[in-house]
């Protein structure tokens, strides 16, 4: 029987490797926009989020206001609040306040998706085991991208743009295949997102994601409520 921490590491290392390539792109982008290497890496180590950082870097490069930064981060990253809320329902008693304060820093899309699909309750050791390699991978990839990104051919960096979305698909497709209700919600969210992008272009990207996801999930919750016992 492996310890929960090691089991977490086993689940976290693939996430960290995936992050290595995604954050590589973030590093390239930030330096191309004129940010220093140390600042780029510091952003990754303190934020640990793809979409929020990509938007934040653009605001810094454009010398935007702090209010704009605050609102943009709030909107783009609001999904983490929902994920944190959802995970809070699944925590083991060993989650004291200080452990919650620590582990909450590492809630990302991938960490959430893996954690929520685990049978039974989540322990702090398991969560920390999963978060540590993902954090290291995110920081290391950013550093590599910031320092060496310009050395790569443009065709490679362009193709790397798919890594993040490839990961998202790898997270949503297997449950959608197993559960047709999830499939329906996923398709609805995609359809709403397409409508926002092409028919309602005045809605910013961050808002479009929140509106589309909320509408699709509402349809799912209203018409296909899940059974009382969601987890073991």
């Amino acid at each position: 029987m492996r310890s929960p921490f090691v089991r977490g590491m086993v689940h976290g290392v693939p996430i960290g490797l995936g992050y290595l390539s995604v954050s590589f792109g973030i590093g390239i982008k930030a330096v191309a926009l004129g940010l220093p290497v140390w600042g780029t890496v510091l952003i990754s180590l303190t934020n640990l989020t793809s979409a929020g950082q990509a938007a934040g870097i653009e605001i810094i490069a454009a010398a935007g206001t702090l209010v704009e930064m605050l609102l943009t981060q709030l909107i783009i990253n609001l999904r983490y609040a929902l994920m944190g809320f959802s995970l809070s329902q699944k925590l083991d008693d060993r989650f004291t306040t200080s452990r919650r304060l620590l582990v909450s820093f590492g809630i990302t899309d991938e960490v959430y998706a893996v954690a929520i699909s685990q049978p039974g309750r989540l322990t702090p050791a398991y969560m920390l085991g999963m978060i540590l390699p993902s954090w290291v991978g995110w920081g290391a990839g950013t550093l590599l991208g910031a320092v060496a990104g310009n050395l790569l051919p443009a065709a490679v960096t362009a193709a790397m743009g798919l890594v993040l979305y490839g990961m998202f698909l790898a997270i949503i497709i297997p449950p959608a295949r197993k559960d047709s209700r999830v499939l329906l919600v996923v398709l609805l969210a995609a359809a709403f997102s397409v409508v926002c992008k092409y028919a309602l272009p005045f809605i910013s990207g961050g808002f479009a994601v929140i509106i589309s996801a909320l509408l699709a999930s509402l349809v799912g919750a209203l018409f296909f409520p899940v059974a009382e016992e969601v987890e073991a």
Partner: protein, 99 residues
Amino acid sequence: MSLLIYIAVMAGVTYLIRMVPFTLFRRQIKSRFVRSLLYYLPYAVLSAMTIPAIFYATGDFTTAIVGTVVALVLAYFNQPLIVVALAAALAAFLTGLVL
């Protein structure tokens, strides 16, 4: 404006969003509706983030679509995250070479 102030705001907001619900919320939700909403929401968020953005991710529709199809097929057959992600990028790269 100092870069450090920007980073502090970014990191502070992002941390608070993650920390507050995870740390302060202690009781189990009884409402079947809310539980259902929380069950569906993460998948819906990732889906809305991916579509249609994935088609613009490489700067070229053809390479992006090839990469997307490869990712969909591999994900359908339950391949690990890293395999799906890198295969999608590799497929897009190779398609770019051929074009």
